[in-house]
Amino acid sequence: MEKTILKTENLTKSFGGLKAVDNVTLTVKENSITGLIGPNGSGKTTLFNTISGVYKPERGKIYFNGERIDGLAPYKIYEKGLARTFQTPRLFQKLTVLDNMMVSCRSHPGDKILNVFLKKRRWSEEEEKLAEKALEILEIIELDRFKDKPASELSGGQMKLLELGRVLMTEPKMLLLDEPAAGVNPTLARRIFEKITQLRDELSLTFFTIEHRIEILLEHADWVYVMHNGSIIAESPPEEVVKNKVVVDVYLGEA
């Protein structure tokens, strides 16, 4: 767990006069579960948007696996193995739950216009395998019953789960999860984090996770960053973060 997989250097992104991300320098170790916490509006989502290429950083550098990725288009960053979820789910509303999963898979031979005509047999086989995989993930997040429903008909929490399930189809090296357990019932929220830990162990994935459900996050994280007003104000192992005076002041409050 020593190698650095993601690194930002003096990353800055502002909206008008507001520095939503202000000179952020941080590293995420490969194969870790790294948490990112902080009050509402502290810039956590903006940081993820900047890392994943949704926003171009104004200043600073981003390295993924030692390679510069700042300024790349989002799909290029995905191709390098860095995928993300959205805090507010952005599902493909009219597509079924299963299609939402399937569309997210990596390098499908049937996703190229010429192969659609020339290699039907090959992509059909791949399609079956991927459908199995998608259904297995759906079972874990308890959505397999709804596989044929349009995503627009899911409940808020179910949408959140599908947002997470979808990104698990992408065979990433690293995932940026924006509040994966928000709006999800307590048992399932726990199960999500257990699953995250299991995936980390079995598939050597790296997770960088925003979460307000601190108790669950701290149970599973290896390292935690705390953000406030666009800056990183603390970083530490999870058990120490709750004792940090500054963090208690700005975020956790007195117990």
Binding site: P74, A83, R90, K94, W123, E127, L130, V167
Partner: protein, 310 residues
Amino acid sequence: MSEPLIYVLDMAVFVGIFAILAVSLNLEYGFTGLANFGKVAFFMVGAYTSSILANMGFPYLACITVATFAAGFVGFVASLPALKLQADYLAIVTLAFGEILRFIFKNEEWIAGGVQGITVPSAITITGVPIQTMMLIQLTIVYAALAICYFIAQRVVNSPYGRTIRAIREDELAAQVLGKDVFKYKAQMFTLGSAMAGVSGSLFSQYVRFIDPYTFEPILTFTVWMMVILGGPANNLGVILGAVFVQALERGARIAKDYLLLPVDPHNLRVMIIGILIILILMYRPQGLFRESKVKTPALEVASKWKKRS
């Protein structure tokens, strides 16, 4: 052959020609979400290319093939700047593109006669057959072309690729973040849609045998839009039926004009009826007469077995 029969054949040919346009707009708008309001431009490129070649004495197959590629190429080139724009701007820019192209054909007489238009010789070299037989041959060719376009469109939309373009229509940013080079897919669909419009334009010019710039006014694009919206976006069969429906209305109005005595001009009545229908559809059945078709791939079968297992 009796006159009514000729009339029906004539209508059938037009239905076929417009159905191809409807299928092509459906790929762009219905499935990919591209609001192309310049459909007529690519139809026009197909028609003019085919007509110029026919005047040079090329056979039909050559005319229609080159027309298809020409329209596809123009579509590809036009898409490069246009697809960088947001949806509303795309609509305006494509609309303007069609008009600009039409003015070029209108003012540059050396291309194809300018405002005078050009007559199109038949590129089918069969001599001494009666007009009815010629019509049947035309009809067969038009429907063969429609069948091919329909087959291609169905194959595209019932594939992983078809799933991706629908996803792009639903949420472009999410598709990007999930690794889709959105621009590439859009440009491909725009090119394919334009090529199909070229097929349609070529068939049209060979059927009517005379084209001029007034043939290609923006109303033609709107007619195709009506077919797609009435029939049901993202349903290929639906938009073909939309083409039948809109054509029937148009023809019906013309018959009414010739044979009935009505207090309103039936031609205007037709425009009113279609307008009212569109409003009603958008209010009460925004998905059109037919719902969006499913993505039919082997995944569906895997999923249906899954139900039994759990």
